[in-house]
Symmetry: C2
Subunit: 287 residues, 2 copies
């Protein structure tokens, strides 16, 4: 039986191997400077941080270490969002193990994950800010009044964070309406667990299931990473055209080629699929 850290690493690898995933790097599509091999190296480097989370280290610092390890490749940001989503889930999977063998029948629940988020501290938030120093992450301007907590400052924002006494849960709450990963933290990981259920309910190769669930998620909700990298209009177009592809009105392969050409990279949706794969693996999905 794989450990939670092993399942998390496998989830990252299965996610990027699914194809076609319109706009994202996958097994058959890559950007000249952000290639499939960078995602492989990112997943290799992330594992030791994920193992810290499983061993009981604080979620924030484990996440920071995972990002540090992930960054030891030249493609840039490969898994920041996926690791932010998966790290508390790894911890929840371990907390869920009440002695002896893991209960893969019952598996990880949203309540387990919410418990981990609720238990985060100001130190976890500080480590989250420090993680931004390891790699360039595309983020928006902070909302009015939140400038002292602009994540782009990295560790320089930590004093403001401590002064306000904000935990990682608090920081996520404040971004939940404009960031898809923060929304998962704040609302009990609804899309992650739904993705896990859909992956488990489908049949066939796991990477094909992941790609199908990706397209469904992309068609159902605007990708916040596309909003950040481009604008709300582009994100709305992505959602609409993914829905058309889902209905068979567009070819997913052609859509994938076009989005890559235009540099449209629905990263948050990919992160949710990675989280869903992790939950499904913890609940006994066979590879």
């Amino acid at each position: 039986v794989r450990t939670p850290a092993e399942n998390a690493q496998l989830a990252l690898l299965l996610e990027v191997a699914g194809t076609p995933k319109p706009g994202n790097v996958d097994r058959e599509r890559e950007y000249p400077d952000l290639r499939f091999e960078h995602f492989l190296a990112g997943a290799v480097g992330a594992r030791s941080g994920l193992e810290r989370a499983a061993a009981g280290d604080p979620v924030g610092e484990s996440f920071r270490r995972a990002v540090e390890g992930m960054s030891d490749q030249t493609g840039g940001n490969t898994h920041f969002g996926a690791l932010l989503l998966v790290t508390p889930l790894v911890r929840a999977a371990v907390d869920d193990d009440t002695g002896g063998e893991r209960d893969t029948d019952r598996g990880l629940t949203p309540a387990d994950a919410e418990g981990v988020v609720a238990g985060t501290t100001v130190d976890d938030a500080a480590a989250f800010f420090r993680a931004f120093e390891h790699v360039d992450v595309a983020v928006d301007e902070p909302p009015a009044g939140m400038e002292p907590l602009d994540v782009r400052q990295g560790a320089a924002a930590v004093p403001a964070l401590r002064e306000r006494g904000l935990t990682l849960a608090d920081v996520m709450e404040r971004s939940a309406d404009r960031d898809g990963i923060a929304a998962e933290y704040s609302r009990g990981f609804p899309r992650t667990f739904r993705a896990a259920e859909e992956i488990a309910a489908r049949s066939g190769p796991v990477t094909d299931r992941a790609a199908a669930v990706f397209l469904g998620l992309l068609a159902s909700t605007v990708d916040t990473f596309v909003v950040t990298q481009h604008d709300a209009e582009t994100a709305a177009e992505v959602r609409r055209r993914a829905a058309a592809a889902l209905e068979g009105e567009e070819s997913p392969e052609a859509l994938a080629a076009e989005f890559v050409d235009r540099g449209i990279n629905p990263g948050t949706t990919a992160d949710i699929v990675a989280g869903g794969l992790f939950v499904a693996l913890e609940r006994g999905l066979v590879v």
Copy 2:
């Protein structure tokens, strides 16, 4: 800087991601029951055994644990040969670390690797035999007089091994003329280190370099796994046609499709590429 165990895991992943690699599972080709995702899961499961080798556990037992972890997926044997090749190299990379930071300039040498092989014991050989109990590996009938040491017996062969006092180096020596991995153990890993040099000398994406070096190796020497799975004639044809592909007389893509159709799977050549990738990464290859 990645650890030797991380580099070994990354080498396994980069190897399978290279395409086209006539006959082998790669990023674009798979068999219905042996898929790309099985190789991802195999590499995830192998890592803890590779970490044991890096931590100083005996080579044989570390290899057995890596195979045990690798086998926790439903595709069957994904990395037996690659792990057999890479495990002593991981140990050599650690022994090479004389305190403090690794000397990636000088890097791992054939002499380091030969030293590890020379130091193997009867216990290492016993663990090697036990590793065959975790997964079905295609192997030939043993040569005359070697029946008591048929690896297919697994642990049942260990008493005969102890009686004869054979180390892992001795066992490999006895198979060196018919098994490409055993030949590497017995001859100072010549093809592995040559592959590492070629990978480092090329430019472009690492997975493309790996695929190119694979084709060159396949064209230069008969793949012993093809001999075992099929026969000497098929293996000779594979070598000849890989050479034609290398000369531009055949399309590598068409050759890949045909070999997959015919179930021709030059696994030993892939193992050598994985070993070469590991050595290249240890010597500073950037991903």
